[in-house]
Amino acid sequence: MKKSLHLKDKIMKNVCFISSLTSIFFLTGITIILFKEGLPLFKEIGFAEFFLGKSWYPTFDPPDFGMLPLFIGSLWITFGAILIAAPFGISIAIFISEFSSPKTQIFLKSMIELLTGIPSVVFGFLGLVFLGPWLQKLLGLPVGLNSLTASLLLALMAIPTISSLSEEALFSVSRHFKEASYALGATKWETIIKVVVPAAFPGINTAIFLGIGRVIGETMTVLMVAGGAAIIPHSFLQPARPITATIALEMGETVVGSSHYHALFALACVLFILNLLLNLTANYLFVKPRRT
């Protein structure tokens, strides 16, 4: 009996070990495939033409594969979304961790978690039939599908990430800090702004970076509401076409193995590297202050 238990233990351990290896296996596999399919593009066109080119005409003859409008489109919409989501998310976190009773805390937290559960296609649909036309009427725009609509919806999607991570960071600030501050005669507001938030700053930063990562990789919503014009946007009221939307839009119908196909994979590589950098930054910001 004891022997068989031992065996079971061993089997379980190995199963878990192999499972953990698969994630590494798939990550490596995805990376290899992305670059294997993306790099052949540069046999046909130069790096500068791809990274600095301002026009994206992948099926024209001769084609143009300038990713700049798409890249800036992605950054632009993400920037807008974070501009809205960061203050909101952090305020929510401060309210939950500092001002609310345990009951409200649980209620608010579960509401925010529910917001995470809404599929992005639902956000996209709301934007397409409700928010877009409404903004168009309100602001007298020629078209309601633009960067602003996309940023607003993406902000809604980033708020849960930012608020729950910030809340955790605020919560983990030592009680002694607050007590010391109160002992010095600071009000609650002064304590929050001058003591708690600065102490939780690394965690809040990480939250924002992960929020950016969440937004920049979002596909369905931007595909539906950003408008899809491959121009370099000059205002939030213009339509834009982020990288993710371009890949989703064009991959289905392109000729496999063509330069267009490779260009879409090259775009995916750019997105992959961008996201990797964001995650590394988030990790770095989080780890470094803890060591000191």
Partner: protein, 272 residues
């Protein structure tokens, strides 16, 4: 009890291995253009009712994907809303596949505007100038003073390619055009945006859109079928060599009077 479960699990595993092999002879995979998808789906449903041993699975994914699947041998029929490209023919030759295009229906691309628009018809040249960005206000065409919002399809869709080859004739669509992934979203945007112009397959016309006359010809089943309406195209089902077996039966079914009735029901134009 435990043994019983084990036997059941084993039996299930064996079944999943055997069943696909047993059905393989009558299995037909149809993949490709989202435009042809409704025809293929509706036809497959009726066809499977009449031929109980046939098992047809129909997938979308786009013309390019369908042809790629035909080349890879993962589908038997590739739906396409465009004819095969030279690049794809070369790939076919490499893999020893000889693609044969079977025209199953005709499709017209309607140029649509918002119902509040005063314009009733445009010349092909004017549509081209709108899409290149040369004309950017409805005023220039005799309409109200309102910016034109160009709505189009993503540049790799079959609908875009047809529109590009027939209307644009080698000119570039303005980058400010809103590129959309489906006929449905183009229709939604045009119906909710006052200054918008877009193009959709004939099957997507409804009361919320206003179809324009092109070169004085109204878009309808008759004008598309007769080729009088200038923006029309054939829809294909590609097979490796002339269709055989179930594929042949299926395509012949679509060609039959019953099949062509399905084509009309799905909003496309029957072959004449």
């Amino acid at each position: 009890m435990k043994k019983l479960t084990q036997i059941l699990v084993l039996a299930c595993l064996v079944m999943t291995l055997i069943v696909p092999i047993a059905q393989a002879s009558e299995q037909l995979v149809v993949q490709g253009s989202t435009t042809v998808l409704p025809i293929a789906q509706a036809a497959a449903e009726v066809f499977m009712q009449d031929n109980s041993q046939a098992n047809i699975s129909v997938r979308g994914g786009g013309s390019g994907n369908g042809i790629a699947a035909l080349i890879d041998g993962t589908c038997d029929i590739a739906d396409a809303s465009r004819s095969i490209k030279v690049k794809e023919v070369i790939l076919c030759q490499k893999k020893g596949i000889s693609p044969v295009g079977n025209i199953v229906a005709m499709d017209g691309i309607a140029v649509v505007v918002n119902t509040s628009n005063l314009i009733d018809g445009l010349k092909m040249e004017q549509i081209k100038d709108i899409y290149t960005g040369k004309i950017n206000n409805w005023k220039e065409l005799g309409g109200t003073d309102m910016d034109i919002v160009i709505v189009g399809r993503d540049s790799s869709s079959g609908t875009f390619e047809t529109f590009e080859s027939i209307v644009m004739k080698g000119a570039r669509v303005s980058p400010a055009a809103l590129a959309q992934g489906s006929n449905k979203t183009v229709a939604t945007i045009v119906s909710t945006t006052k200054g918008a112009i877009g193009y959709v397959g004939l099957g997507y016309l409804n009361d919320t859109l206003k179809a324009l006359e092109v070169n004085g010809v109204e878009v309808s089943h008759e004008t598309v079928g007769s080729g009088k309406y200038p923006i029309s195209r054939p829809l294909y089902m590609y097979t490796d060599g002339a269709p055989e077996g179930t594929a042949k039966q299926f395509i012949e079914f679509i060609w039959s009077a019953e099949g062509q009735k399905i084509v009309t029901e799905q909003g496309f134009v029957a072959l004449q």
